[in-house]
């Protein structure tokens, strides 16, 4: 793996020269029987995979009208073609979003449209052969479902939904990805993506209490499984485990401490992430979300706050209400969802992002900061794709962009924006999202980070930027891994609440 090198920065960042077949291959590791069966999928590729795949595709097309529209609507205008970080980094024409989608669209035409059934060659329709299925597996695991291309599509085709459908079809015939499916199994069995059992979690949290006490002299608590707490914090399990993630966890705890908020973590629902979305499987998505409802009901909490996790915030903001009753709009016949809706305190947003929580408290003057504590940093902000394009924060359009930046500016003196072509709704994926944050895809991850690294290099050279803040566990892990390959220090990446943690004044406000 050490032989993976960073691609050269583009002199003029336009459409790269094509390298057909550059990323052909077998794709990421395929899930084993054991991993697949543990979450209810066929163990390995079933004998009648062709018929079952087409049947599943038909089900998805009738269940999600959006998918049928996306299959029919594309006019191949090419607006999306150079918008994908994986295409830019790999130069493989099949990673142009339009071409990647056409891997499925051509099969759709063959089986679900009249011209394709009778004159397949005339309309570019293809049989679903084993080669095509393998091609799906490979290239639909070269899309991080970040939806940047969708921003530029005149028809608003949601490419991520096509990738999700493809992965769902693959899973339904026993051709799932090891990384995502293994992680989903761990959430169901243990409660979080990492597989941290409660005793390990408790041991880690006790250690953090000691560390913060040592550093600040203040008893900041990291409570877990506390009945009757006001706030239940749901955060990615990486926050308990990895660097720099854990520094943001310390930041959340300090904010709760400084504002006198009663809060708790949960050992059973110790995961904000929901890889059910990445594999496009509604049942897995719902089952993972229901753990949080069960715990919220059991602990009797009034508010649910979500930590720094990109896709979790999309799931929480966009889907939790109907999936589990966190927020408005639960099924009237879903007893427990109704129960939870009544239990939660609707004077507050349900769910609420930790950045919304902290920013509200800053606006209420409930927090004070020693901004000089962050003076060693010249900071920029990387918008995470699922927060930017799949959710919102606050009460105004663009809150998901402004609120994290407002927090940074409230806790630090030096803030610089990267090129506007690459921020806010036009942000680039870190290169590791959507279930691709695995070592067997490291080459893809390095190449996919190219457009972000180009503009980071620009602000580093021009403004001396030495810290890139972000609010996603995947972004943090991906950048920590790949930035040294681009000649940056891995400690240049961190969370927004890591900066909060550096500057927050405890005990004297």
């Amino acid at each position: 793996m050490s032989d993976i090198t960073a691609p050269a920065y583009r002199v003029i960042p336009i459409i790269p020269a094509l390298k057909p077949g550059a990323m052909e291959g077998k794709g990421p590791f395929v899930a084993s029987d054991k991993i697949n069966e543990a979450i209810g999928f066929p163990g390995q590729l079933v004998e009648d995979w062709h018929d079952r795949a087409i049947a599943r595709m038909g089900e998805l097309l009738s269940k999600y009208r959006s998918l049928r529209v996306f299959m029919d609507a594309c006019v191949h205008c090419g607006a999306c073609s150079d918008k994908c970080h994986y295409f830019i980094g790999t130069q493989d024409p099949k990673n142009m979003p339009v071409a990647r989608q056409d891997l499925m669209r051509s099969v759709y035409r063959r089986y679900f449209t009249l011209p394709g059934k009778f004159f397949p060659k005339l309309v570019g329709a293809r049989d679903l052969t084993r080669e095509v299925l393998d091609e799906w597996y490979n290239y639909f695991h070269q899309c991080s479902e970040c939806r940047r291309c969708s921003v530029f599509c005149p028809y608003g085709i949601d490419t991520a939904e096509v990738t999700m459908a493809a992965r769902e079809i693959l899973d339904s015939v026993g051709y799932g990805q090891k990384y995502s499916n293994e992680i989903i199994g761990k959430v169901h069995k243990i409660g979080n993506n990492l597989g941290l059992p409660a005793p390990a979690l408790i041991d880690t949290l006790e250690g953090l209490e000691e560390d913060v006490k040592e550093a600040t002299g203040i008893d900041v608590r990291f409570p877990i499984d506390v009945k009757g707490a006001e706030v239940l914090l749901i955060t990615p399990s990486a926050d308990f485990f990895a660097e720099p993630h854990i520094d943001s966890l310390i930041g959340y705890a300090k904010v709760f401490h400084a504002t006198g908020t009663s809060w708790t973590l949960s050992s059973m629902a110790s995961e904000a992430g929901n890889f059910g979305m990445f594999i496009g499987n509604y049942e897995q998505l719902r089952k993972i979300a229901l753990r949080i409802r069960e715990v919220a009901l059991e602990l009797g909490v009034k508010r649910i706050v979500v930590g720094e996790c990109g896709h979790a915030w999309r799931v929480a903001y966009s889907f939790w209400n109907t999936l589990s009753g966190v927020g408005e709009g639960a099924d009237p016949n879903d007893k427990f969802a109704q129960m939870l809706q009544k239990q939660l305190d609707h004077r507050y947003k349900q769910p609420m992002h930790i950045c919304e929580f902290t920013w509200d408290m800053i606006e209420l003057n409930a927090l004070s900061f020693d901004k000089e504590a962050n003076d060693k940093h010249i900071i920029t902000f990387h918008d995470s794709c699922n927060v930017a394009r799949g959710s919102r924060m606050g009460d105004f359009a663009g809150g998901q962009f402004d609120i994290p930046r407002n927090i940074i500016k409230a806790v630090a003196n030096n803030f610089v924006e990267m090129s506007p072509e690459t921020t806010r709704e036009r942000t680039f994926c870190c290169g590791g999202g959507g279930g691709l944050l695995t070592d067997d895809l490291l080459e893809l991850r390095v190449k996919g980070a190219l457009p972000r690294m180009e503009v980071l290099r620009q602000v580093a050279d021009e403004h001396g930027v030495n810290f890139m803040a972000t609010i996603c566990a995947i972004c943090k892990a991906q950048f920590t891994k790949i930035m040294p390959i681009y000649g940056f220090d891995r400690r240049m990446v961190g969370g927004v609440h890591q900066l909060v943690s550096n500057a927050i004044k405890l005990g004297d406000k």
Binding site: L194, G207, T438
Partner: protein
């Protein structure tokens, strides 16, 4: 399934060379794994590997990076209690690379 051969014995591993059965592990396997990772095991490496195994025995998971650095610092001297030291020993990341040598499953997630 993949496998490795050490001193004439065959051991099952996953695709990335992590040992499938924890109980198979021994010092020879650790040395073999280290070699495939271009690492020469020293006393300092063994301190980390042994701690990982102890921790795993108790908690069924590898320790968080912070827990690891703190424990190593406490046990073997404050100068060793930081992630730079651990990255120095295990350049590919102390979590994943040291776990592999210690015969533990690879920690995966958003890390």
């Amino acid at each position: 399934m993949s496998s490795i051969e050490v001193d004439g014995n065959t051991y099952e591993t996953d695709e990335e060379g992590y040992l499938t059965n924890l109980a198979d592990w021994n010092a020879d396997i650790a040395n073999y794994m280290a070699k495939t990772e271009n690492i020469t095991m020293t006393d300092q490496h063994w301190e980390v590997v042994n701690f990982l195994r102890e921790y795993f025995d108790e908690y069924q998971i590898a320790p968080a990076v912070r827990v690891l650095t703190k424990a190593i610092g406490k046990k073997f001297g404050a100068e060793k209690g930081n992630s730079e030291y651990l990255y120095g020993l295990f350049p590919y990341g102390p979590g994943k690379q040291a776990c592999k040598i210690a015969g533990l499953p690879k920690p995966t997630g958003c890390i």
